[in-house]
């Protein structure tokens, strides 16, 4: 049975009808990799599902339930990682992660530490984020994502700024999450190295773009 199903998704950006009646289904334990050329609407799609953008129309079903717009229970179950990683530059990585996760669920500081170790951010976890490089920040953002415990991950180019080891880290985080029965939608051109039965590809924009 599909955990997440999207039907009849229409989105306008400016005056352009960007996504026209898009529909797809994602079963539990599966990653839907969203691909398409620049500007076809990958980010738009993820932001709509994250509730950041209001679509013209959308029939969204999650775990068999019709999801109305701005449903808090649905939101509690999803985690969105966009281009801006929501890090306060005066705080350390640990402080940032505790805040970002704490907004959703109670979290102990040991959990935060172990998450930072998991993403390879332990070395610099006591430095303020302003003194971190682009890739180091990205890792801290991944730690928050991992720790929220949400079952649906919406990832927009998660591997940006990461080195080769970091790209492997993203792949393994996703694999682990899928193994736990989670759901991932990732807009990325990177090969996630998933077995074919765990990974579907959604190509958007072939038809959907008018410009």
């Amino acid at each position: 049975m599909s955990e997440l199903s999207v039907k009849n998704l229409h989105v306008f950006r400016g005056e352009r009808h960007l996504l026209r009646g898009l529909g797809f289904e994602v079963p539990a334990g599966c990653c839907l990799q969203v691909v398409g050329a620049n500007g076809t609407g990958k980010t738009t799609l993820l932001r709509v599902l994250a509730g950041l953008l209001e679509p013209e129309s959308l029939e969204l079903t999650f775990r068999g339930q019709r999801i109305p717009p701005r449903d808090p229970d649905y939101h509690a179950n999803l985690s969105y990682l966009g281009h801006d990683p929501a890090l306060k530059s005066d705080f350390t990585s640990a402080e940032n992660v505790s805040f970002n996760v704490g907004l959703r669920r109670r979290v102990a500081s040991e959990d935060v530490q172990s998450a930072l170790i998991r993403v390879g951010a332990a070395k610099f976890s006591d430095r303020p984020v302003r003194a971190l490089s682009a890739g180091q920040r990205r890792r801290v953002a991944l730690a928050s994502l991992w720790l929220t415990g949400a079952s649906l991950w919406l990832l927009d180019e998660p591997a940006t700024n990461l080195d080769v080891a970091g790209q492997g880290l993203v792949a393994s985080l996703i694999q682990e999450h899928l193994a736990d029965g989670g759901l991932v939608m990732a807009a990325t051109h990177q090969d996630l190295g998933l077995p074919p039965n765990q990974c579907a590809t959604l190509e958007i924009g072939a038809r959907g773009v008018s410009a």
Binding site: P72, S79, D111
Partner: protein
């Protein structure tokens, strides 16, 4: 992983605590509104006259202009930073009611600017020749007024996020919205200096504050949601 969801109250508290902690990280920033208030106050004698007798007459206006300006300067940055680094996005995605989070941010702003300004006012009042007996009345008026200014400011700041989307007109509305606060506040201050009863304007200031507390977080949340799209 056991996941105990954070309650709305706890989330709002977290936001409040975070904003205060961010401010404490830079203690110099805590003092800045106070010095700023003093600097603005200084400008009026320099522009007008050094005579305390004459200054007393414009003291209410001076104090309230300074409060308005401090509120405006500090508020814009409060939201802009959160918008730029993606924090507001995460607020929306978190599933926590945005209204509560916005209320917390507004409260943090008031604690960091409105309250210190209020507490500082007596000192500046003296420099403007305000008699000491008027101070309690001025304190009460500023306390009520700055709360409303923070609330109006939060809506304005939310709206400026989405300025591009045609919020142009709305963002210009917030300043005029502050005008009633300024008028009643200045009037209350004037009455306090004259030693007369302030009941009327204080009553109106409280009414504005109550109105603000009920409506502003809702409006701010709506504004932020629109601004992020």
């Amino acid at each position: 992983m056991t996941a105990i969801r954070t309650s709305t109250i706890a989330a709002a508290w977290l936001v409040l605590e975070r904003d205060l902690r961010l401010a404490v990280r830079r203690p110099a920033q805590l003092i800045q509104p106070l010095v700023f208030f003093a600097v603005v106050t200084l400008l009026f004698p320099l522009g007008y006259t050094p005579e305390l007798g004459k200054l007393r007459a414009i003291a209410p206006g001076v104090l309230w202009v300074a409060a308005l300006l401090a509120s405006m300067l500090a508020l814009e940055s409060l939201f802009r930073e959160d918008a730029a680094d993606g924090t507001l996005e995460q607020f929306v995605v978190s599933g926590q009611p945005l209204v509560g989070l916005m209320a917390a941010k507004t409260l943090a702003h008031w604690l960091l600017t409105g309250l210190p300004l209020t507490l500082m006012a007596p000192l500046l009042g003296i420099a403007l020749g305000v008699p000491v007996v008027a101070m309690p009345g001025i304190l009460v008026a500023l306390m009520l007024g700055t709360i409303t200014l923070s609330l109006i400011g939060a809506v304005g700041a939310g709206l400026t996020l989405g300025v591009r989307r045609g919020g142009v007109l709305l963002s210009l509305l917030t300043l005029p919205l502050a005008v009633p606060v300024l008028i009643f506040g200045a009037r209350a201050t004037e009455l306090a200096i004259l030693g007369e009863s302030q009941i009327g304007p204080l009553y109106l200031l409280s009414a504005l504050a109550v109105l603000g507390i009920t409506l502003a977080p809702l409006a701010a949340a709506a504004a932020v949601r629109i601004g992020l799209e």
